[in-house]
Amino acid sequence: MDIEAIKTQIACDLNDLKSIQALEGVRVKYLGRKGLIAQLTGTIPSLPAAERASFGRQVNELKTGLLALLDEKQKALAAWREGADADTIDIGMPGIAPELGHLHPITKIISEVCAIFRQMGFSVVEGPEIETEFNNFTGLNIPLEHPSRDVFDTFYLATKSTLLLRSHTSPVQIRVMKSHKPPLAIVVPGRVYRPDAVDASHSFMFHQIEGFVVDADITFADLKGTLEFFAKSVFGKDISMRFRPHFFPFTEPSAEVDISCILCKGKGCSLCGRKGWLEILGSGMIHPNVFRHVGYDPSRYTGFAFGMGVERIALLKYGIEDIRLLFENDLRFLKQF
């Protein structure tokens, strides 16, 4: 057979080729054990001695050339195949994955705040929502018939008149201190209740996080440092803070804590009521009368306590304007967190 004719045939075979399988067919046809090249090689011994060397060289060249062509074709085919796949995947179609749920924003804030205090060595504990008058008021140095109780309007149980729905998380202070000796470093998240008519900024049920530290030498400076670390962790390192004297029956000295407005950075806007400051915490050194109620010696121990409204922080942090959204549980709201 004529070598040139074979070359043409190879070119022709390779040209029409569309698949790797067909390419394999071509490879077998020429390079197989009984392929054309083997047949050509087989004819060499029968050739005149003078032609053998030259013919042998030509067959070798043909073989090398064919191998190169097959290789090239294979690469081309492989590339074509990937291209073909890309055509069948429509990347515009939605991805396939199970849908995850969402934590309620209140839970997210509580987790974030508790994590910050855990870093400092605090333990997180909870307490019951139905409380005694003693734990909610008297033990916390809030006398029964006193104007200081006005801010703590309270739901009472019809069944037992001395029981109530806690109006703050502070009763857990009393519970923990009664059952444990110092040192203590505790945060308490939980639901609290006050008979406030529901509107954009009030809810009869809301959440607080209470915290307190008691040990031999806890100072007002410790209170400031702890709350500064907390506020900067939640609202960013750039905020400024101020501690304003205030009155809470269960702490003395007492302070309210403001941060510079997160929207206007202190210039004054509608969020901060043109004040430039946002109140976020109430705090103070635990009142000696509270220590006496739980059987601690106030000359031996000092401590600080603080409390914050979780909804307030959620509203500020997420830019929510109406507290009712938090309890409406609309999935379109919940799925944003």
Partner: protein, 680 residues
């Protein structure tokens, strides 16, 4: 409370701008919530905390300004009333505890008319309406000194006599606001010879009100018991500037001075003269003395304040500090500071004026373990698992409408009612989360949500059989609707049912380390299944009944719910993990389809297979699962077809086909025998 800049200036020289003053007051604990310029003056609105009745006056705030700005308070020594006079005033105080001090001045020859401009303006700036010169002067002194005064038309008082006594049941009075009020013996009144003429410390009566025709007044300046005033005010549902101050405590030492000033002003403005004065009670309280130790101060504030500064601060606030040694003082408390009772109260005063901002910030060294163990971690991981399963967390109200709907699975505890509910939607504490979650589902269906998968972890409340209050941590789950899932290139509608809830709970169990064979789901009726872990009931699965759906306006939708007792669940949790070697040899799977009667529970079949696997397969049966469930054509109506896939495997060797076939045939025979199963 409102005050004005110029009014303050009557008592203290102010060099600060109004804005700077507002800032200073705020940082001293008198939070200025707003201030505005008006009629040539500046009006500050200040929030006064309930412990500082002394700040409920211009004089009190001026004293604070003087202390904060190192200025002198311009205040003369308070003077006593000159008792006696031509007219004898009859004053009887029945109970000293109700009214420790009552003073009266008779002022004659007054001309009631409108107030001069300066007086009107000052009152109007702080939000007090001008009535007539006499009433205005009484109010002026109230705001300036914090001592509420009351002027009676003397000629309207029967027999010109005053009795301070408790009202009798059945007595009535028409107050100056025109409302007739029923009284009882909780209410302290001022009465003349016949009837009550004022509610003591709260509001005057219309009968004896000063009017245009009044020419003689009895000017009352007194101190009433804070608790009595508070109780009376709450009983009557009344608020007044006067009651506000008496409830918080009025300084007994300035009562007479305030009355004298009022009389002097009346003389100037309305032309009257004092013709008699009478006092009942003691005009002084014993001075309280408190020891202050500089070491305690330093220990509380972590800052060294020089003793000169300590003394200076205390004296500027009206305290008298006597140094006993370099660090110890005896501090005399002025009568207007009844709130200062113990040493820490003094420490707060010093810290406040020194400036909270000047106290350093430190982080306390917390010595672990600092208190009880952190018990919220499991609760948090529960939530993480649930959101991983596609459920969204909700928070619903703990208070619900009484007897709204009873759902299956509700606890046996009795509902606890609220004594003072806000509205009828929130009258009792809920005994189950299921109703609230169903409401949540209904709400989201109304919002056209096609698939609702929610959970809540919260307390439920109730009275147990022994009438004891119980509070339980519950997990509630609700599913409704369906979602489109991709299966290969097809979308399949997957509608949530009881098995979806079951699956969710099984994942929870698995994650909490509760072994599969420790849990049992038992159908109680078509609407309800119970969940047991090691024989203990931990919760219920529920399909909402039709009537409940109708009440919630849920149409043509199935709502499935679960309620799990979190404490019981977590007490069964086992979070310890130990590695168990697994078979690396490939397993051999055999599928068998059996047909059994519907009455045969699938769970029982799986249990039997597991039992057989443990006892008779030499540990080679690794897993058995239902891979197909079928009812319909070619199957009797009262039967179901189940395809069971069994995987056999040995950790040591590769099993042979013959071995597996022989084992599997034994299993199939077992199933035939046990469940009367037909093999297909």
């Amino acid at each position: 409370m409102k005050i004005t800049y110029n009014w303050l200036k009557d008592f203290v020289a102010i060099t600060l701008s109004p804005r700077a003053l507002a800032e200073k007051l705020t940082m001293a604990g008198l939070e200025v919530v707003s201030f505005e310029e008006s009629r040539g003056d500046f009006v500050f609105e200040i929030e006064i905390t309930s412990n500082r009745p002394d700040w409920l006056s211009i004089v009190g705030v001026a004293r604070e300004v003087a202390a904060l700005t190192n200025k002198k308070l311009k205040l003369p020594e308070p003077q006593p009333l000159r008792r006696g006079g031509g007219h004898t005033l009859g004053i009887e105080v029945q109970e000293k505890k109700d009214c420790p001090l009552y003073t009266a001045q008779l002022i004659e020859g007054i001309k009631v008319g409108s107030s001069p401009e300066w007086l009107r303006q000052r009152l109007e700036l702080i939000g007090c309406r001008s009535i007539n010169n006499i009433v205005d002067i009484a109010n002026y002194i109230l705001f300036e000194w914090g001592e509420p005064l009351h002027a009676f038309d003397f000629d309207a008082l029967q027999a010109g006599a005053i009795t301070v006594r408790r009202a009798q049941k059945g007595e009535k009075i028409v107050t100056i606001d025109g409302v007739e009020r029923q009284l009882n013996d909780d209410v302290l009144v001022i009465a003349d010879a016949g009837a009550p003429v004022a509610i003591a410390g709260i509001m005057g009566g219309r009968e004896t009100e000063v009017g245009p025709a009044t020419s003689r007044i009895l000017l009352e300046a007194a101190v009433f018991n804070p608790v009595v005033v508070r109780r009376g005010r709450r009983m009557l549902g009344l608020e007044s500037e006067s009651a506000y101050r008496f409830e918080r405590g009025v300084d007994i030492a300035i009562v007479q001075e305030a009355s004298l000033r009022a009389a002097r002003l009346i003389g100037q403005v309305a032309g009257g003269t004092v013709s008699a004065a009478k006092i009942s009670g003691a005009a002084k309280v014993p001075t309280r003395r408190i020891a202050l130790d500089g070491i305690h101060l330093r220990r509380a504030l972590a800052v060294q304040i020089p003793s000169g500064t300590i003394k200076g601060i205390l004296e500027s606030l009206g305290f008298k500090a006597k140094a006993l040694s370099q660090k110890k003082y005896t501090v005399s408390i002025p009568s207007f500071r009844q709130d200062v009772k113990i040493e820490v109260d003094l420490i707060e005063e010093i810290a406040r004026i020194f400036g909270y901002g000047r106290i350093p910030n430190t982080i306390p060294r917390i010595r672990p373990p600092a208190g009880p163990q952190d018990d919220t971690a499991l609760n948090r991981s529960l939530k993480e698992i649930l959101i991983g399963l596609g459920l969204n967390e909700v928070i619903t109200y703990s208070l619900v409408e009484k007897g709204w709907v009873r759902t299956p699975g509700q606890s046996a505890d009795k509902e606890i009612a609220i004594a003072n509910p806000l509205s009828k939607d929130q009258t009792v504490l809920r005994t189950t989360l299921l109703t609230s979650l169903a409401q949540c589902v209904a709400y989201n269906l109304r919002q056209k949500q096609p698939y609702i998968a929610i959970f809540e972890i919260a307390h439920t409340y109730g009275l147990d059989a022994a009438q004891k209050v119980q509070e339980h941590y519950k997990l509630g789950i609700a599913l409704c609707g369906g979602r489109m899932l991709w299966v290969g290139k097809d979308r399949v509608y997957d509608e949530a049912g009881l098995l979806h809830i079951k699956g969710t709970i099984e994942v929870l169990f698995e994650r909490l380390g509760i072994e599969k064979d420790a849990c049992r789901f038992v159908m109680k009726n078509v609407h309800e299944a119970e969940v047991y872990v090691r024989g203990t009931l931990v919760g219920t699965l529920v399909r909402l009944r039709k009537e409940m759906c109708e009440r919630l306006d849920i149409k043509n939708k199935e709502v499935v719910e679960a309620e799990i007792d979190v404490e019981t669940l977590l007490s069964s949790a086992n979070l310890k993990r130990r590695f168990k070697p697994f078979a690396r040899m490939p397993g051999i799977t055999r599928d068998t389809t059996i047909v059994v009667k519907d009455a045969v529970r699938t769970g029982a079949i799986l249990d039997e297979i597991a039992r057989w696997g443990a006892n008779s397969s030499k540990g080679l049966l690794q897993d058995a699962e239902i891979s197909k469930y079928y009812k319909g054509e070619q199957i009797p109506d009262d039967a179901k077809s189940l395809t069971i896939s069994c995987t056999y495997c040995s950790p040591q060797r590769t099993l042979t086909d013959e071995e597996v076939n022989s084992l599997h045939t034994q299993l199939v025979d077992e199933l035939k025998k046990f469940f009367n199963a037909a093999i297909r």
